[in-house]
Symmetry: C2
Subunit: 421 residues, 2 copies
């Protein structure tokens, strides 16, 4: 890893801090005496950015730019997202200046709040949530497990990024407990379905993309505009999945209750701008995609992001995001090519991130091969699917624009027993 | 049909008017000098209900009830929906009183706006949109067309109301034009998919259910509570569908771009309370559903609603809603049985309403049997799927609580040519 060269800051921040000035993720926080508003994480503090923007506006006379104060006073990022990509760039430059130029230190320091004193909230009021299926290895593994008599990949898989809509109302912030879902389950040899708690409760380790800016119904968003104007940032995303419920319900209209009981995202949204140094070429796409899915290298790209799946404290998998077949801009261009409009606050998931090697698989379905190969945890216990009380944490990191390590906000969740009523 | 016995009204309204005091559907309207707010249709006028509620509050001193004035000043029904079922009942009783007791005539009359002077808007800010698949005849027909080598109904169909999430951001109000979607299409014998405008653009005649009140994540909503507390009202819903795009994309994760380019709903939401006399028993359910899908007769019911599908002025089908297999309360209970929370503004569609007889089929896919049996219109032209410029109107009616004919708000849309860029 290159040595860290964070821009100097007046903050007392270790040079290798993963939340340095090269990162600056956005979230929504509240304190004991003040309701939810936008904050930016710097070191182990949250910067109350609407307060700082207010000082900037009043003292420095930033009257012509976007109204960041008003956008950041909101209890979600949606208003800021709607300001558009030019405003995001202005905001980021200005935050870097505020945090590095000692002239701002005195005015800014009072608006730093220790992480321990804040409660984090869902950062985005999710408009529409779409989940893609962009990992070839994941799709192949699931095909082998769920449809053993067919080709692992469906014939459409390499022609289009397969996706489907999920439930935006059940997207929750990291730290929210998940109640084990109940539903209908029927094994291949069972005479009829039975009702009860899911016995195959799983995770999916994904990256989520937060969309900013809106488009007009009937007007597709091409790959280039998707990449430059609408991809705001990323979150870690755990697409909790009840495999037994899913297996019985999903033909012919797709997953529904096997997924809709909860989707967890990290509290911090890392701007794409912070991941400029992590951009890498996609794996080769063969056959060549149709023209509407093609783009220049700065439009169609992968990301060199490293994930960890932590199960009750044990790292059980290390998925690599760069293995994914489809680029986020291709996913967004595909999503809208039929004229579907996008809105600020739309969220789309990459689909489970799995590589070829067993230790890079991003779901327990794959890691345990549908329960046939238990996973051993550090405490000596074995797992196939989730048990009540289990906690899963997803972590991720990349190399920042300054060469240092940049950590995505983690996403964690603990399983509570199923409802009894 | 029984003779009409509308409650007497001080309004100069024909006794058999389908928007009489036994109906009172809600919508959102604007006028030249005033932005969108909630209105109630009475006769050929819109009652500006927040203004009337304000008079009631100030003059009659209704201080203890729900704040209808504030809820009805909003540009969507969501705030009113969130007030809950008791408030809906209070509001309905009060509106009937205002419109029938001559003592209210003088104060109320100034707040009646002729339909010709208003613009109607999307009545609900749609939270999550789910589309079900509750017609046995529709599911069987689609199965025969899309999966000719398999049983028409999938094995799960009679055990659970199959559904999936659609795109809430592209739900539009009646009268909105639809741009023909473009996308990937691949026939069974084509070597590879091609990109272009859909050649099999279709409709689906459905009933949409508007949900009010919210539930807690992790706590299912049982059938009885679904029926009594959360089913607010109905709209006619046209689930525009690009069959060629859908056929290529939908395995394994379900319909996506074949549906997400637009879903039209009527501007008027008819309260379930107005459809009390239209409740009918469901067709027999065999096998008996699992306990969580069972309910008393006043919880699990069908609706005797009659639809018309009008293609460029010709009535091409007359679907009967009472043919549907699953009850709306069963659909909502199923949707949440995994603990998924519901929100005011959630919308779910019944799925295409098709009966056994050809003339009761609610999609052109079925009416033309995937394009092999053209439909003749009154102007002598023939159709299989939609052509540019075509207009489709869905109408519906039922018998109201006063024995008169109650017409649902219609939903119409016209197809514009595909984008060329």
């Amino acid at each position: 890893m290159p040595s860290s060269t964070h821009a100097a800051s007046w903050l007392d921040l270790p040079a290798d801090h993963p939340f340095g000035v090269a990162h600056l993720p956005y979230g929504v926080f509240s304190t004991a005496d003040h309701g939810p508003r936008v904050g930016v994480r710097i070191g182990d503090d949250v910067l109350d950015v609407s307060e700082v923007a207010r000082i900037g506006r009043d003292a420095v006379g930033v009257g012509d730019g976007p109204d960041l104060t008003a956008a950041w006073e909101q209890p979600s990022l949606n208003a800021f997202l709607e300001l558009g990509h030019d405003a995001w760039a202005v905001a980021r430059s200005w935050l870097v200046e505020v945090l590095t130029d000692a002239a701002h230190a005195e005015r800014t320091r009072p608006h730093l709040v220790p992480l321990d004193d804040v409660t984090m909230h869902l950062p985005v009021e999710v408009a529409d949530y779409v989940d893609f299926y962009a990992s070839e290895h994941h799709a192949s593994n699931v095909g082998r497990i769920f449809r053993p008599d067919s080709e692992p990949l469906t014939p459409n898989w390499k022609h289009l990024p397969i996706g489907y809509h999920g439930r935006s109302g059940t997207v929750v912030v990291s730290g929210t407990d998940l109640v084990r879902p109940r539903g209908q389950r029927k094994g291949p040899t069972d005479p009829a379905p039975t009702f009860g708690p899911s016995r195959k409760l799983d995770i999916e380790a994904e990256l989520g993309f937060v969309v900013g800016g809106s488009s007009t119904l009937g007007e597709p968003v091409p790959v280039g505009r998707a990449a430059r104007e609408h991809l705001f940032g990323v979150v870690l995303l755990n697409d909790w999945s009840a495999r037994d419920i899913q297996a019985w319900e999903y033909v012919p209209l797709g997953p529904f209750l096997g997924k809709s009981f909860g989707t967890s995202i990290s509290a911090w949204v890392t701007p794409l701008a912070a991941l400029a140094a992590a951009r890498v070429p996609l794996p080769a796409q063969d056959p060549e995609p149709l023209p509407y899915l093609r783009g220049a290298d700065d439009e169609v790209f992968g990301l060199d992001l490293h994930l960890e799946v932590v199960w009750n404290g044990t790292v059980v998998a290390r998925p690599e995001y760069r293995d994914l077949y489809w680029s986020p801009a291709q996913m967004l261009a595909h999503l809208s090519v039929n004229g579907a409009s996008i809105r600020s606050g739309d969220l789309f998931g990459s689909g489970t991130i799995s590589g070829q090697a067993k230790e890079t698989r991003g779901s327990f379905l794959e890691l345990s091969w549908n329960g046939t190969e238990p996973v051993r945890l550090d405490d000596g216990s074995e797992r196939t699917f989730l048990e009540d009380g289990d906690t899963v944490v997803l972590r991720g990191w990349a190399t920042g624009t300054d060469g240092g390590r940049l950590e995505l906000g983690e996403v964690s969740g603990t399983i509570r027993p199923a409802a009894t009523a």
